[in-house]
């Protein structure tokens, strides 16, 4: 950590580029060759200083994606470029160097802390293994505890079981910040918290991002939270990206029918305007044998023959539009009867 990681690629260089990431898991005891297509060719950029929200239902591959980005799970295929340097490439940076700059906060605040270690030692461990002396690492731990709003003398010596869920999640955030990362991946980091505590932690995350110039990848199933915190939003369905764009565009004029259904499934918060008909029926299909062509077609009311035959490309069909979707209805050439003719 003596080499201070500076902004190498310049402001226009995406902080992280993921290209065609792929991870298939073998099915134990399943048919020979059966695989779960957890992440099946996912590409996106994370720009410097932004919060990219990732939404999707269980089994869509959003958590596997987070782990692939840090090589906590080895990808089967695909490429990662961090600030212009290819990860794991001879001329690029190593996975360890990547992990010094990208940290992660998990959903379960208890199981990600060592129960036999006072939390200040858990926090100091990261800087220590990355080359600081014990004394320096201890000082860093005190500093980051202050930053996440916990008094170091009061909370530092405590063990995880002596803290509430919200306090434990603050410790996990402090631990991620202790090695001064440039990017933090938050995998359902506020989902297990009570609403009143969730709001506190969201405020903290926003303040930390501002103060330390961080970039976030914010994974959540809660659309309201994603709308509040994200600059851009990526929507996943069965291991693939179905839509990606600026947060206002995604929420005010979604392009993919799945995104539309997700938005319409949110409770109304108004007893006078209750939802009378489910926006879509059924559960998401199994990622072991996803539907041919467009994976969403089995639940889509606009599905036509072309949707079963060809997999839609993720695109905008308009060079200036940063809002892209993988749906035949967006592609003027697709042959879908509802395809948009002019952009």
């Amino acid at each position: 950590m003596d080499t201070v990681e500076i902004d190498r690629g310049g402001p226009a260089q995406p902080l992280l580029i993921a290209k065609d990431l792929r991870k298939h898991f073998k099915v134990k005891g399943g048919a020979p060759g059966a695989v779960v297509r957890a992440v099946d060719g996912v590409s996106f950029n994370v720009f410097k200083g932004e919060t990219l929200g990732v939404v999707g239902e269980s089994g869509c591959g959003k958590s596997t994606l987070a782990r692939l980005l840090l090589h906590l799970i080895e990808p089967d295929a695909g490429e990662l470029v961090f600030d212009g340097d290819a990860v794991g490439d001879m001329r690029g940076i190593t996975v360890n160097a990547l992990r010094r700059q990208v940290q992660m906060v998990f959903q379960d605040s208890s199981s990600s802390l060592n129960p036999r270690m006072p939390v200040r030692d858990s926090i100091a461990f990261g800087p220590y293994v990355h080359g600081k002396t014990k004394a320096e690492a201890g000082r860093i731990a005190r500093d980051v505890l202050v930053k996440v709003g916990l008094k170091p003398d009061l909370f530092g010596p405590r063990y995880p079981h002596e803290l509430s869920g919200g306090q434990k999640q603050r410790i996990n955030i402090a631990r991620a910040l202790a090695i001064e990362p440039r990017m933090v991946i938050l995998d359902e980091a506020v989902s297990a918290l009570d609403k009143s505590v969730e709001a506190q932690v969201l405020n903290l995350l926003r303040a930390l991002k501002e103060n330390f110039n961080l970039t976030y990848l914010f994974i959540s199933h809660d659309l309201s939270v994603v709308r509040y915190i994200s600059d851009r939003v990526l929507v996943m369905y069965l291991g693939a990206v179905v839509e990606l764009g600026p947060v206002q565009d995604i929420f005010s004029r979604p392009k993919h029918p799945y995104t539309t259904a997700l938005l319409a499934s949110r409770p109304s918060m108004d007893p006078a305007r209750r939802i009378e008909e489910p926006p879509i029926t059924g559960d998401p299909p199994s990622p072991i044998n996803p539907p041919s062509g467009c994976r969403f077609r089995t639940r889509c009311q606009h599905a036509e023959a072309v949707c079963a035959q060809t997999q839609p490309i993720l695109g905008a069909w308009n060079d200036r539009d940063s809002h892209i979707a993988a749906c035949h209805m967006q592609d003027p050439e697709s042959g879908h009867s509802l395809a948009i003719r002019t952009h």
Binding site: A199, S265, P267, P271, P278
Partner: protein, 334 residues
């Protein structure tokens, strides 16, 4: 705005009065529920809204006496359809559970038996309570799966729980709960573990079945959005007490208790992205050492000296509304 429910003067289906539940261990006593009073009329949906540790699930389990008897101390009265639940014998309890009262849980995978098929599990309940043959019971199980809109229900009867998706498992559990036509349905966060697109399907189904069958329902949730979709009335719990109660539309439009107001401000729902959320500071109290006064006072921006001395008595500022707060009507200041 009324959610379809028409208040009647029919006698209450559920009457809970001054319910207190303590969990006693060698080292400490947790005051999980501290004097809860409410009633539910036939055909009415009461949502108990609260965060973890508020006592909402414990209250629900007490209604069916599902709490571990050895370390639980229950006092107060619970009456369901005139029966004194706390005085029932084990045999009477077995008749009550699954017959007059049934319950659905958050996690169907742990509530269903993994080694029996869905059909067998539903049929077992029907045979136990109705005393019919297995053939008749299986036919009833098929009817029930169709009622809860399980696709290709006949073949699903022979499936084991692990062969179903999360949404279908939850529907199977609802089918089992409804199998004997209960008059009271207890639901403990039944949609919390489901995906958003599935949650709304199950909520709409439950709302429809509840109306058709005219069941009184107590629905426990931490999610204001879920409550807004299904409740007739809401009871907000904090630290083992009901701090506010009233019709759903009134509570959502005009919350009275500072905790309810704080909870609504904390619930992210289309907030201004450029501002912080108005979060409630601090965290809920330790149930082993409750403060002598209002349990919310340490986190409350309106708290005054009188809040710390005694637990606030219920006040009834408008018809059908109750709040336990001595500072009612004091304007909230930012």
């Amino acid at each position: 705005m009324d959610g379809g429910f028409v208040p009647t003067l029919a006698p209450a289906l559920v009457e809970v009065e001054d319910l207190t539940v303590r969990f006693v261990t060698r080292d400490s006593t947790a005051h999980a529920v501290n004097g809860v009073t409410f009633s539910v009329r036939p055909g009415e949906v009461l949502c108990i809204l609260g965060e973890s540790g508020s006592g909402k699930s414990v209250t629900l389990r007490a209604l069916m006496r599902l709490l571990p008897p050895g370390k639980t101390r229950i006092s107060g009265t619970i009456k369901v359809d005139g029966q004194d639940v706390l005085a029932l014998s084990p045999a009477e309890l077995r008749r009550l559970r699954g017959g007059l009262v049934s319950m659905i849980f958050q996690e169907p995978m742990t509530a269903l038996d993994p080694v029996y098929t869905i059909g067998d599990q539903i049929a077992e309940t029907v045979m136990r309570h109705k005393g019919v043959s297995k053939t008749v019971a299986l036919a009833r199980a098929l009817e029930l799966l169709e009622l809860v809109k399980v696709p290709s229900a006949a073949s699903r009867l022979n499936n084991y729980p692990h062969e179903l998706s999360g949404g279908l498992r939850q529907r199977a559990m609802i089918a089992m709960a409804l199998s004997c036509g209960p008059r009271l349905l207890l639901a403990d966060e039944p949609t919390t573990a489901l995906d958003a697109t599935v949650q709304i399907q199950v909520l709409i189904l439950l709302r429809k079945l509840q109306k058709e069958m005219g069941m009184g329902t107590i629905f426990v949730t931490h999610d204001l959005g879920v409550a807004s979709e299904i409740a007739d009335r809401i009871a907000v719990m904090y630290a083992g007490r009901v701090v506010e109660e009233g019709p759903v539309a009134d509570i959502l439009a005009n919350p009275l208790h500072p905790y309810t107001r704080g909870l609504m401000a904390s619930t992210v729902h289309g907030q201004d992205r450029s501002r912080d959320i108005d979060a409630i500071p601090g965290s809920p109290p330790d149930l082993r050492q409750l403060p002598p006064g209002c349990a919310f006072a340490p986190r409350c921006s309106l708290a005054a000296g009188e809040c710390l001395s005694a637990v606030p008595e219920p006040r009834f500022p408008a018809p059908g509304r109750m709040a336990r707060c001595v500072r009612l009507g004091v304007p909230a200041f930012a």
